[in-house]
């Protein structure tokens, strides 16, 4: 039976603060740190122990540019597992993998809202969300399981994935949607105020995400430039199809759904990645069926 390690969360904004609060609520020992005293106070009020001594699963919940230096002034246990919540994984793997070797396991919960900061903390933020947890050739399976177990404990479902496959996928389902939203909005503005004035549901839905901070959006798409350009090319190819074919294909894609049925997979890198590539996820209930997996019952 795998002992359940403590969790340390660095960065107590919307994602980190929500994670720490959710884990505390589940009865797990959590240490938290943030450079902002107000964020530390807010987390402490939710029962998070505040400190600079980090062990167990160390979760870096800071913006991408801060990942490389977030642990510099903190005291990290030599055997701690290090994970992060960044929205792109290949560059982070290059950076943190070089530093922490097989102790690093990349992660990316597919949630969050337009709000940010510790004021936006919500312990239910991860409930039902997909959480990509990266399995590279050099990843220690025991550490991968520890990170996956943290995600499961706060109600997420774990998608086993490589960093490269993750970045291709999020280009298609997150980064390109931001570019399409921008193009749709800019073209409508070009069409004139009459068009913007008539805009209703379909325009609002198609442009909502471009209301986010443009510097954040630009950094996100440029930080995943290759996969995003490739995914954009696939969208442009679709747009050149006859409209009746395009509409039928799009409708089928959103209404087909990914079939979900319980499967038993061994704790094996290839088997887990195959589950992820097939559109599957490890869920809390399923985890009990994964060979050798002993999840927290909290």
């Amino acid at each position: 039976m795998m002992p359940v390690p403590p969790v340390s969360v660095v960065g107590l904004g919307q994602l980190g603060g929500s994670l720490a609060a959710a884990l505390v609520a589940a009865g797990r020992p959590v240490t938290g740190w943030d450079v902002d005293p107000a964020a530390r106070d807010a987390a402490a009020a939710r029962g998070v122990r505040i400190g600079r001594e980090l062990d167990g699963v160390v979760v870096l919940a800071v913006p991408l540019p801060a990942l490389a230096t977030a642990l510099d002034d903190l005291d990290v246990a030599p055997d701690a597992t290090v994970t992060d919540l960044g929205s792109v994984k290949t560059p982070v793997l290059a950076e943190l993998g070089a530093r922490y070797g097989s102790r690093y396991v990349g992660g990316h919960p597919m949630c969050g809202t337009e709000r940010s900061g510790h004021e936006a903390t919500d312990p239910a933020l991860f409930t039902g969300a997909r959480w990509a947890v990266c399995l590279e050739a050099g990843t220690e399976l025991a550490r991968w399981l520890r990170v996956a177990e943290v995600a499961l404990q706060v109600g997420a479902e774990v998608v086993p994935v490589t960093a490269a496959d993750h970045d291709d996928a999020v280009a298609a389902i997150s980064h390109v949607p931001h570019l399409l939203a921008a193009a749709l909005a800019a073209a409508a503005a070009e069409a004139g105020p009459l068009a913007l004035n008539l805009a209703a549901g379909s325009f609002a839905g198609g442009t909502r995400v471009i209301g986010s901070d443009p510097e954040f959006v630009t950094a996100m798409v440029e930080g995943n430039a290759g996969p995003t350009a490739a995914a954009l090319d696939r969208v442009l190819a679709q747009l050149s199809r006859p409209w009746h074919e395009l509409v039928a294909a799009g409708h089928a894609a959103v209404t087909g759904g990914v079939g979900r049925r319980p499967v038993r997979v061994p704790v094996d890198r290839q088997a887990l990645l195959a589950l992820g590539r097939a559109g599957g996820a490890v869920t809390y209930r399923l985890a009990a069926f994964v060979e050798g997996w002993v999840p927290e019952s909290g």
Copy 2:
């Protein structure tokens, strides 16, 4: 002072049923008709008088393909004003303008949901919605005012527009968004089940409208093919810009907003169209300030 004519609504599904119910609630005499007895019964239960004798403002609330024949078996008063709620205006103007001449005034309320049919009736459907009302060179202003007044009475705001300008505008803010949603969904499906499985907020927002009936969507974009192709070209041109420029332009477009301040305009075709082109609308409160305009006080 302009007498307030009765309203007759043909087609008592989501749009027509909601309009008839909202007008009844406002105390206006409303006659309704639908080929479906269940729709007639539902409208009658909301106080709509059911009958085949139509006068005043006759509102055609039937699907585009049925517009040409919807009045064939009904008894329409010779001086009735005829309007419709169709999502494209130039082809309808060609069809109904040829038949009813200056008695026809095109309209298009920018609302409705994925639901349809009389079960989806909601008297509040038009509250705050924009309602395009077409002013062509041959439109009688007195009839235009009668149609606009119906829209205002159910809580909509009236955008004066020509059929051609309307079709260009809705291409940009409704028809192209459907094509982009289809392309985004189809390209993500091409990327594989892993991508669809990680999809969260930005993908759901960007693809929501393609969940609608594909035959309806195809008919809509093909019914406005020229303007939609031109609007799609403007989106493609935007997508070829450097990403930081594209993101900044898109963000500015959705956050800039159209300035709204009360203006007084004469009841004059050019003045009303200029108001519409500038992103303005006639609102219930403003209507009192439009020279010669005497809106219902209900």
